[in-house]
């Protein structure tokens, strides 16, 4: 699982990539050099939910250098239960066009257990 990639650069330009087992490796290597990105996952405060925190995630990978500013922004967010998985928690985060979504349903606290 996973590939060890050897990338040859001329300045910022990728000249060659070796070691990838599929085409995705090429794009990944290019991005890692010029525009590294990561999916960001964290939690935000939720009120009246089954739990005090709601897990959230960026719907696409996010610019690496903007991860900590994104987390700062999310610390200011409070969501009201109930929440549905996939609900947009923060739209167009930091102007990137990337939404932050709820990872799960978060029902109101003390909803009856289904049985």
């Amino acid at each position: 699982m996973g590939c060890r990639l050897d990338v040859t650069l001329e300045g910022d330009k990728v000249v060659s990539v070796e070691g990838q087992a599929c085409k995705r490796g090429l794009a990944y290597a290019q991005d890692e050099i010029t525009d590294p990105r990561r999916v960001v996952t964290t939690t935000v405060r939720v009120v009246n939910g089954r739990h005090p925190l709601l897990p959230v995630y960026t719907e696409r990978s996010f610019p690496k250098h903007q991860i900590f500013p994104l987390l700062q922004e999310l610390r200011r967010v409070t969501v009201m239960a109930p929440v549905r998985a996939g609900q947009v928690i923060l739209a167009n985060a930091l102007g990137t066009g990337i939404n932050v979504l709820a990872s799960r349903d978060m029902p109101l606290r003390e909803e009856p257990c289904v049985s």
Partner: protein, 426 residues
């Protein structure tokens, strides 16, 4: 009075293994399927695994743990599976009567046509490691810290040292850093990484967190609270090298030193266990030594990816339903799968060659030692080679899958052992 319930298939544990087993049991034709889950909601450990990387194989997308769980939870309810939440199974009899308890009903007696164990695993603790030193507050397993941070909303500390390069420890190194903590060091006693390489890159390298291989914690220091750990280098026999001690100031030590399949119920039933995996001996249908009892997921052996847990759960659920419906294949003959050169364990342990009539079957193994170059995975039936493939590298932390194609039936049917070995090419 004891409340009595009756189901065709009862699944113990509502994590990814149990969810998949329950859905598969319904699809296979079992009418009454019930998941018994000790937590107040389904999803198991996935609810605290808020990071992504789940579903790449089974769903074709990259999801956080709770989202992966939500997909299968929705399917479970749509399929008409019942769920007994906040309910703990205390005992199971060989006749498949379960005794469980919850606050609503007191004690429940549940009769099952077939039982699937999917209790997952627990973490190895400080006591099991016998780390010397004082006993201050601030020593947690990585999974406990994960629950505190991601579900309860507490920071367990501010300055961390992590013992063990298991995936949970690396994931928490990143999580804690994102929440403003300082992760000083990750120490790993083996000379190689315990978890996935991708976690090393995305959790440690990305944040400049140093990893020291062949190191361990010699002592914990602190009065009421952890104040420091004494890290030390070790030799090839894991003995501390005198003079290599380093005092690392910190307020919290996280332990990520191994997962142990949770088999209290299985052991009490006298089910045959594999001492290497810590889980039951199973066949290709995830059946155990006791008829009518099946096992799915980390309760059998610890998987690298949840996707594979889901696939194992599907196999167990189908088998359990077939058994409950009186349609289990009546086969006595099976061959023993043996761990050969450089293989620490193989699952399943027993194999019925006729299962190949349903399609390709799967073996999963872990190697003893890493080999960072091309190796051959070789299958031998009673000592005669019948198949081989190449792997680019092998690591103990990355399970190897062997697909048994139906055309191997003729070579397997007359054999009594199937040995799997990993060797460097000659």
């Amino acid at each position: 009075m004891l409340k009595t319930l009756s189901y065709d298939v009862v699944v113990i544990g509502g994590g990814p293994g149990g969810l998949a087993a329950a859905i598969a049991a319904r699809e296979r034709g079992a009418e009454r399927v019930c998941i018994i889950e000790r937590a107040e909601e389904l999803g198991g450990i996935l609810q605290q695994c808020i990071h992504n990387g789940f579903g790449l194989e089974v769903l074709g997308t990259d999801l956080p743990g709770p989202a992966y769980a939500q997909h299968f939870i929705n399917q479970v309810y749509q399929a008409g599976v019942q769920a007994l939440l906040d309910t703990m199974v205390l005992e199971v009899t060989p006749q498949r009567v379960l005794y469980a308890t919850n606050a609503r009903d007191g004690i429940l007696e549940i009769k099952a046509g077939a039982v699937v164990f999917s209790m997952g695993c627990r973490e190895r603790t400080r006591g099991a490691l016998a780390i010397p030193g004082t006993r201050p507050a601030g020593v947690y397993t990585a999974g406990t810290a994960q629950r505190l941070v991601n579900i309860e909303g507490y920071m367990p500390g501010r300055r961390f040292v992590i013992l063990g390069s298991g995936d949970i420890g690396m994931i928490m190194a990143r999580r804690l850093t994102l929440e403003g903590a300082q992760v000083e060091r990750v120490l790993e006693i083996m000379p190689y990484l315990s978890g996935l390489k991708r976690n090393y890159v995305q959790c440690l390298q990305d944040f400049g967190i140093p990893l020291q291989l062949s190191h361990t914690v010699r002592e914990i220091k602190g009065n009421k609270r952890v104040e420091a750990v004494v890290a030390v280098a070790v030799d090839e026999r894991w003995q501390p090298i005198p003079g290599s001690e380093e005092v690392i100031p910190c307020d919290t030590l996280l332990l990520s030193v191994g997962l142990i399949p949770e088999n209290e119920l299985s052991r009490r039933l006298g089910i045959a266990m594999d001492p290497v995996t810590g889980g039951p001996i199973v066949d290709e249908g995830m059946g155990t030594s006791l008829p009518g009892f099946f096992a799915a997921g980390n309760v059998v052996h610890v998987y690298d990816l949840v996707d594979w847990v889901t696939m194992a759960g599907e196999v167990a659920g189908r088998s359990a339903a077939a058994y409950a419906l009186g349609m289990a294949p009546a086969s006595v003959y099976r061959l023993r799968v043996v761990a050969g050169d450089n293989v620490r364990y193989v699952v399943p342990h027993l194999f019925h060659p006729e299962s190949l009539a349903q399609g390709p079957q799967q073996l999963q193994l872990r190697v003893r030692e890493p080999i960072e170059e091309k190796v051959q995975v070789i299958l031998e039936a009673d000592g005669v080679e019948i198949w081989r493939k190449t792997e680019r590298y092998v690591r103990p932390g990355e399970m190897v899958t062997v697909k048994l194609m139906p055309d191997l039936y003729d070579r397997l049917q007359p054999a009594s052992t199937l040995t799997v070995s990993v060797r460097k090419p000659r």
